[in-house]
Amino acid sequence: MRRASGSEVLGRVVETLKRLGAESVTVTQEGVVLSTVTKDRLRDFVRALIREYGESLRHSTCMGTDLRPVRGSFSVTHVLALDGLRLYLLVETEAFGNRPKVPSLTPLLPAANWAEREARDLLGIEFEGHPEPVKLILPDPWPEGVFPLRKDYPYNKKLYETPAQVRGVRGEPRFFSAKPSPPSESVREGCALIPVGPYHPALHEPEYYELYVEGERIVEARYRGFFVHRGMEKLAESRMTINQVPFLAERICGICGYTHACAYCQAVEAAARIEVPERALYIRSILLEIERLHSHILWFGVAFHMLGFDTGFMAMWRIREEVMRVAEALTGNRKTYGMNLVGGVRRDIDEGKASLVLRMLESVEGEFRRFCDSVLSMREVVERVKEVGVLTREDARRLGAVGPHARASGLGIDVRVDHPYAAYRFVDVNVAVRDSCDVLARILVRYDEVIESVRLIRELLKNMPKGELMAEYGDLPPLRVGLGATEAPRGEDIHLVITGRGNKLYRWRPRAPSYVNLATVPTMLEGERLANAPIIIASIDPCFSCTDHVVVVDLRTGVRRRMNLLRNALTRG
């Protein structure tokens, strides 16, 4: 009922966009509409859009681009998702000058906060009216006024050229003067500070949380992340060619890398109008589900470990090992599948490999069900996760949560259904939704998704058509925009590309799901007991390396302030 025919909906949306004052409206690819707006009308345009589409409009990400060599300007492209209508709206606006200024959308759509600050850091675009215009992405000692993503910055110019430069005054390295967070201006009397990270056994990645506790209760939580900014966007735009980037994209994340490789390839294929053979689409979907399987089971293990339940951890990782072995047999590596190139896949799944997969599914499904059922029937376990780390539906929507995290707060969004890609066009996906909004709900959603993945792989294997694995294509047309979106194990993963000349990229902007989900963590932590902190942080299945490919937070601002500003923005908007 929800879905009128695609073209009808599209026609109506294009009509609306024109009516609301878009300068030009083009359908760039299936399900993606690009409208350009002058920067003075941007806010009004988006405000009108919010009025028009209300709750269903979600800010997904934004991409800043240095178009000076081409058009003499900078551009900012916001990606707004209309999940119900199966559409992504790209809203592009242009700005000129060395410190270009565009109006900020954060007061209207709080989820735009980090993405805008990222563009500010990397490209020097000022967002007027941004509630918190401070450094987010680059490392602390990064000099002011230097923007690595601008085309005139060499990709390999390191922050420090020689080891000796690291050594600053007083014999101490200059770095060391930078503490991960400021001496707090608002720490309450009688609070103890518990720093979690950057190295903490609960986090297998360097991340930093500061928890202010009274006894065991957390009164304030601050997050400081982005230790894993490796400058990959710049590498992709400069050193690499389009068929090298899939391998770079895969290394955004070691757990859900393949989903990034897929999203990237989809984006380039969309930009260059490459028709990928159907068999390749099926193979991609199968591997994506295998990845989801291993990622979710891994998460179960980690969650049990956080609860101190090591037998659960061991059982999950034992079950997961079978998935890893099959992944290795299918692709040649347990983790980095390396299966994708633009236009298709590199290896086939033949009969023998298919039967290997089916055997694995059989045993994994049985064992996983049996073990988790018996754990979830234990009162001690359920007690520890029930009504812990609550994120209300309202907060989830406003902060732009995605994936299982959003689905556990009652939002039924899933890219596989809302914006079908790969072989999900040919199969029905059941979306697991729970509405108790706590850690337990997140466990149950992922439980359902494991079972659903098993079913999907079986169906995909059964329906897989014969045919080619790779499309033929020539040189890419330059300066075309492409968008690729996939449902990573952690939620919506979105890649935007602008093609360049000579089989290179002009711009690449990946946005991983944890990027938006992480912003919800401090909200969930406040008022909780310290012992619950690890399981709450873990419950969003945070993948810091996904997020941090581009970002680092400023020292002088704590999350607390940021969250308050967000709330203020929410009440005002």
Binding site: I194, A202, E216, G308, D310, T311, R318, V381, R529
Partner: protein, 313 residues
């Protein structure tokens, strides 16, 4: 039966202390092996904890400027205390015993916890402080339970001497209070033994080692060793109150009786350890508040036992 000459008594004590100290490490190895087996893996060698401790003694001593002076002394003090505990409590071999050694034993066992948590609290490391705080709050409650239990047993058997307490073997009447008291002591042995779900003070994923996180090298070895020894001492106390070891050795006469007693005792200790390890493998860590509330329930039970003992049941 107690040793005839002071020299022999000293020898008995030495044997007890040495063998408990070694057993504490080996039984932890057994624990790890059992847990691994439940998790369907091979697990470390039985002597692994022994290797770990021996290695730690060869590691350098670490010092932290932030730590208070008590921090660095605490492990040695805790270890010494637990060794004295091992000397006082009859285990493999009988000790000569003195009136009130039950009180001393309980006091020494509690002291190990107290020293550890104070040591952690003066480390200046946040995780360690929280761990110490947890340890202390768990200890406060469980010491009450221990006290009430001991009082119940003592009043029902009319003695405070460990070797003469045989609360369950009373030819005349079967009493209820010692049984309840022993049940709550069994729970306490498990809880204070630092086992999951009550292992909240070290809490690896939450507190990065908690009370132990400020120590390294030999002091960590001492701390580990004294905590493991404390675990064994609690089990020993429990076994002493449950099984009439003296009667076994008396019935057979020295030296055969002593040998049988030592062997039986070791087996019993291993059994307690095995059972605890299997239980432990099935649980996650509970919330610190929850752990304490469980211990509070045990407090009610032991209170009931005490009242019952006073009334004469």
């Amino acid at each position: 039966m107690s040793a005839a000459s002071p020299l022999l008594a000293c020898a008995f004590i030495l044997v007890n202390v040495a063998s408990l100290a070694v057993l504490a490490l080996i039984l932890d190895g057994v624990d790890r092996k059992v847990r691994a087996r439940v998790q369907r893996r091979v697990g470390p060698p039985i002597l692994q904890t022994l290797y770990d401790v021996l290695k730690l003694y060869r590691r350098p001593v670490t010092r932290d400027e932030l730590a208070g002076p008590f921090h660095s002394v605490a492990p040695a003090l805790a270890f010494a205390t637990s060794l004295v505990g091992a000397a006082v409590i009859p285990s493999l071999l009988p000790t000569s015993g003195f009136q009130g050694d039950l009180i001393v034993a309980v006091y020494l066992i509690s002291s190990v916890s107290a020293i550890t948590s104070f040591g952690a609290a003066s480390s200046g490391i946040p995780f360690s402080v929280v761990g110490g705080w947890r340890e202390a709050s768990l200890m406060m409650t469980s010491e009450l339970v221990l006290g009430a239990t001991v009082a119940a047993i003592a009043s029902s058997s009319g003695s405070l001497m460990l070797s003469s307490l045989m609360p369950l073997i009373r030819p005349s009447t079967v009493k209820v209070s010692p049984i309840i008291a022993l049940a709550s002591l069994a729970l306490l042995t498990y809880v204070e033994g630092g086992r999951l779900p009550f292992e909240i003070a070290e809490a690896e994923p939450e507190l990065a080692g908690g009370v132990a996180s400020g120590y390294g090298g030999p002091s960590l070895a001492l701390l580990m060793h004294s905590l493991l020894l404390k675990r064994v001492l609690l089990a020993t106390l429990f076994l002493d109150l449950l099984v009439p070891w003296g009667a076994i050795s008396n019935a057979l006469g020295a030296p055969l009786g002593l040998a049988v007693r030592a062997l039986a005792f070791t087996l019993a200790l291993t059994l307690v350890s095995l059972v605890s390890a299997v239980i432990e493998a099935l649980y996650g860590r509970c919330r610190p508040g929850h752990a304490i509330s469980i211990v509070k329930k045990a407090l009610i039970v032991s209170g009931v036992a005490l009242i019952a003992a006073c009334v004469g049941f």
